[in-house]
Amino acid sequence: MENAYMNQGAQVDKGENARMSSFIGAIAIADLVKTTLGPKGMDKILQRVSQNDQSISVTNDGATILKSVNIDNAAAKVLVDIAKVQDDEVGDGTTSVAVFCGELLREAEKLVAQRIHPQTICRGWRLARDAARSALEAHARDNKDNEEKFRDDLFNIARTTLSSKLLTHDKDYFANLAVDAVMRLKKSGNLDHIQIIKKAGGQLRDSYLETGFIMDKKIGVGCPKKVTNAKILIANTSMDTDKIKIYGSRVRVDAMSKVAEIEEAEKDKMRAKCKKIVDHGINVFVNRQLIYNFPEQLFAEAGIMSIEHADFEGVERLAAVTGGEVASTFDHPELVNLGMCDTIEEVMIGEDKVIRFSGCKAGEACTVVLRGASGHMLDEAERSLHDALCVLTQTVKETRTICGGGCTEILMAAAVDKEVPSIPGKKALAMEAFARALRQMPSIVADNGGYDSAELITQLRAAHAQGKSSYGLDMYNGLVADMDPLGVRESFKSKLQVLMSASEAAEMILRVDDIIKCAPRQREGH
């Protein structure tokens, strides 16, 4: 009867069933990414299923994994969504957020089985979340006034982020690289200015940070291959014959000689345009669109290096780096800001030629050249580095940092536990559950490393009880240790975001008591 009033194929899950389906879905998704958590986490192979594209990628980035999985379960979709948002917002902690949400729901399942109302659980969680949050805030350290220490913090954060990724072997190297790149940005935090170029070949350690800008393009034929004291005009204009923009016009002639004339006129127009460009007093011309042979030749004659078909991002980045503006009209040379840089030359990376702009006017941008044995490796390296860069730029904005290695989770759990005895009612049970879910996080990290999690976590808890509040898991020696000298730090913002959005999502899933699925759209041609 239930479905009688809805379309055929629609489905309604109620009460227990609905709750069970969300629990199962969400926990399954969390379990899927659980093993990738922490420095000893494992990777996943993702293979595409379509007929003509069976390419694979290897990753342990939570958001990447979750984005690629096709999911039918509604609650699971919520988890995927929070991971995506975490990725957009902070760039790191994507796995943690999904796993934490899953753990919360796992605890909730037990409570619901004890006949505690979901709303009561939500209320308990909220109290717990507030307690955890204030503990986190109290623990955070802010080094923004001390530049040297702040750099250390950034370096440590980058190391911690990278340690769970493919780059873990060279994490010091890459952490330095990432910090240098981000420090160059100075507070702007505009990741667009950091370009990552991947070139297969060599080894990961051969990757380097190029302070200038590298463009994966070739210099036009016959142009000088090296320019010093370059004045660059960056343009977005068609260097083909301009199409006539006045609507409805067309060329119609009645004799061959007229055709020649028009052709001449076209050439004149181009010549005039090139002349105008040359008159800017430049020695390098970069265009977003193609430069045809004729203008290229004209530029070569004038001794100007021309670079064609730089993609849109390339042009914008170049504009940012060299301080020039992207020009499309050339009538007022005095108004156009030219880009400046010391040297432009063609260099070889591996076997490919690229153009390097060094000594740029605005020193913000830089390029990271990644080398590695295979394409998959490079892709994963890029993702890892991107995560690190994201976290660092966010940390530059929100300068507080916290200890990593499960230290804060234990700390927050302790803070929640401390609140529990003063709370009357069943809410307290939910708060205990929240603390358990928090403690589950370092325990998963330990499990992934093959250590005895129960032993380690209890030791860690004891250490915290003794007031050693900076203790966490040392995943390289399988011990409990002080995180400060080990330099395991994380960004405050990322951790806070994990705490808030995971508990928000868990609450949302928990509050659901009906799942109504509309009939799937009928697809044509099946």
């Binding site: 009033y5 957009d88 990741l191 006539i244 992207v326 949302m508 008591d513 509309c518």
Partner: protein, 536 residues
């Protein structure tokens, strides 16, 4: 029945049997309709009240929405049954009219119908039930007006408004931050409200959602937010003392509507044409510049060349701004929308204190905020939250809260929540029932019972023992003659809703009763359901 004979004895068919796939008649029709309606209302029943649960809705494309807004649930359920559809429309009309109480109205209709079912079983004619309900509804609405209280507020003292908004938000997921959200809703409404005329123009409030951040990061911007960016990455990102011109014409040579052809047949003509074309651009920019504008907002896109010329002339520009947004900007900044470049002049420009571009998170999503507008009443809420679904739900909840605040501004009479109003009505309706002669009496009493269903559902959702709670409150109301006693959903320790500060607008509640009664009457009066099948 479907065949009759004319005066010459020839048979003719009124209703083709094949054509009518299904036909349900008489009592059976009413029963099956009531069943469908009850099924719908039983879905919504658990979403009622501050402790109501949410529904997860998966649409045909697999997208997930989580909400406890009655109207949204029903709208997305893609209901097919004809009577169930009536209920969907019922909740939508409550949404359009009042904006809140969309769940309550459906639950009430469901309760009325299930009471009617019992009466039908006892052989009372549906029309008698409908009329009884009608009479009872009148009594109830009158009672509401009697127990109604007046909330006094001024532009300075908005706390009564805020606590109303909080009541509305209580049942939503965003109730963690309800005080902040309520404040946002009230501020938003008050900034666009015309208190003398008691009018609120909702067009002036815009909501933009961006997943990311936390719910607390939700903010109210006095101004307009555009989900756009400056057309050229190097244009200045912050402009003060803005004079903007709003263009609905593209930065391109004009396209005459008449079909025409322009033939070029010589070198001179070609060159002339080129010059002419260049002039168009410089002239357009010059016209903008001459008018004194320092920001260009255009409904259309523009050419690379125009874009660069704008940059060169230090004219920041925003392109592809939608028509609705353009109008909003026009109202806020006092600008006139300019359809042709030749009509540009200084007095048609709009003014704003500040325009800036802001960036979110790591994905470089940009928005442009226009602040301190001349007619500064337009506001925008930027809603943030952990994920897409929560942002959507927060937007819906804020909208509900704003509707409630608007209703209070229009009419500041309120009734108290927590089921207290329903209980008071139920008491007065059942008292009235005893004075009525005939079968209507049963219907009126049934109406009173149906009203009890709302506090019952409230108590049930809060995990209280429903019947016990209702009986307690009811006897207390009778004893103390205090119509403000209701179900204590939040366990605040008192049943007096006036003390708890839980109230709803009077018109909202009255509308609920009236709409629900109307629909129920309609359903009861249906005695024949003919479903048209395909021709066979």
């Amino acid at each position: 029945m479907s065949m009759v004979f004319d005066e010459y004895g020839r048979p003719f068919i009124i209703l083709k049997e094949q054509q009518a796939k299904a036909r349900v008649k008489g009592l059976e029709a009413q029963k099956s309709n009531i069943l469908a309606a009850k099924a719908i209302s039983s879905i919504l029943r658990t979403s009622l009240g501050p402790k109501g649960m949410d529904k997860m809705l998966v649409d045909a494309d697999g997208d997930v929405a989580i909400t406890n807004d009655g109207a949204t649930i029903l709208e997305r359920m893609e209901v097919q049954h004809q009577v169930a559809k009536l209920l969907v429309e019922l909740s939508q009309s409550q949404d359009n009219e009042i904006g809140d109480g969309t769940t309550g109205v459906v639950v009430l209709a469901g309760a009325l119908l299930s009471q009617a079912e019992k009466l039908l079983d006892r052989g009372i004619h549906p029309v008698r039930i409908a009329e009884g309900y009608e009479a009872a509804c009148e009594v109830a609405v009158k009672t509401l007006a009697d127990i109604g209280d007046v909330i006094e507020f001024t532009k300075e003292d908005t706390s009564p408004l805020i606590s109303t908004a909080e009541t509305t938000l209580n049942s939503k997921i965003i109730n963690v931050n309800r005080s902040k959200m309520a404040k946002i809703a009230v501020d938003a409404v008050l900034s666009v409200a015309d208190l003398d005329r008691k009018d609120v123009n909702f067009d002036m409030i815009k909501m933009e959602g961006k997943p990311g951040g936390r719910l607390e990061d939700t903010e109210l911007v006095s101004g307009i937010v555009l989900d756009k960016e400056m057309s050229h990455s190097q244009m200045s990102k912050e402009i003060t003392d803005v004079k903007c011109c709003l263009l609905t014409c593209p930065f391109e040579p004009p396209k005459p509507k008449t079909k025409h052809k322009l033939d070029i047949d010589s070198k001179e003509a070609y060159e002339k044409l080129y010059k002419h074309e260049q002039e168009y651009f410089t002239k357009m920019i010059q016209q903008v510049k001459d008018s004194g504008a320092n920001l260009v907002i255009c409904q259309w896109g523009f050419d690379d060349e125009a874009n660069h010329l704008l940059l060169q002339n230090k004219l920041p520009a925003i392109r592809w701004v939608g028509g609705v947004e353009l109008e909003l900007i026009a109202i806020a900044t006092g600008a006139r929308i300019i359809p042709r470049f030749s009509e540009l002049s200084e007095e048609k420009l709009g003014t704003a204190g500040k325009v800036r571009e802001i960036t979110f998170g790591t994905t470089e999503e940009k928005m442009v905020i226009i602040e301190d507008c001349k007619n500064s009443n337009a506001v925008t809420c930027i809603v943030r939250g952990g994920n897409k679904m929560i942002v959507e739900e927060a937007k819906r909840s804020l909208h509900d809260a704003m509707c409630v605040v608007r209703n209070l501004i229009k009419d500041n009479r309120v009734v108290y929540g927590g089921g207290s109003a329903e209980i008071a009505c139920s008491l007065s309706v059942s008292a009235h029932a005893d004075t009525v002669m005939g079968t209507d009496q049963y219907a009126i009493r049934a109406f009173a019972d149906a009203l009890d269903d709302i506090p019952l559902a409230l108590a049930e959702n809060c995990g209280l023992s429903p019947i016990e709670e209702l009986a307690n409150v009811k006897s207390k109301q009778l004893e103390s003659k205090n119509p403000f006693l209701g179900v204590d959903c939040t366990q605040a320790g008192t049943n007096d809703m006036k003390k708890q500060g839980v109230f709803e607008t009077l018109i909202g509640k009255q509308q609920q009763l009236l709409l629900a009664t109307q629909v129920v009457k309609m359903v009861l009066k249906i005695d024949d359901v003919i479903t048209m099948g395909n021709y066979q």
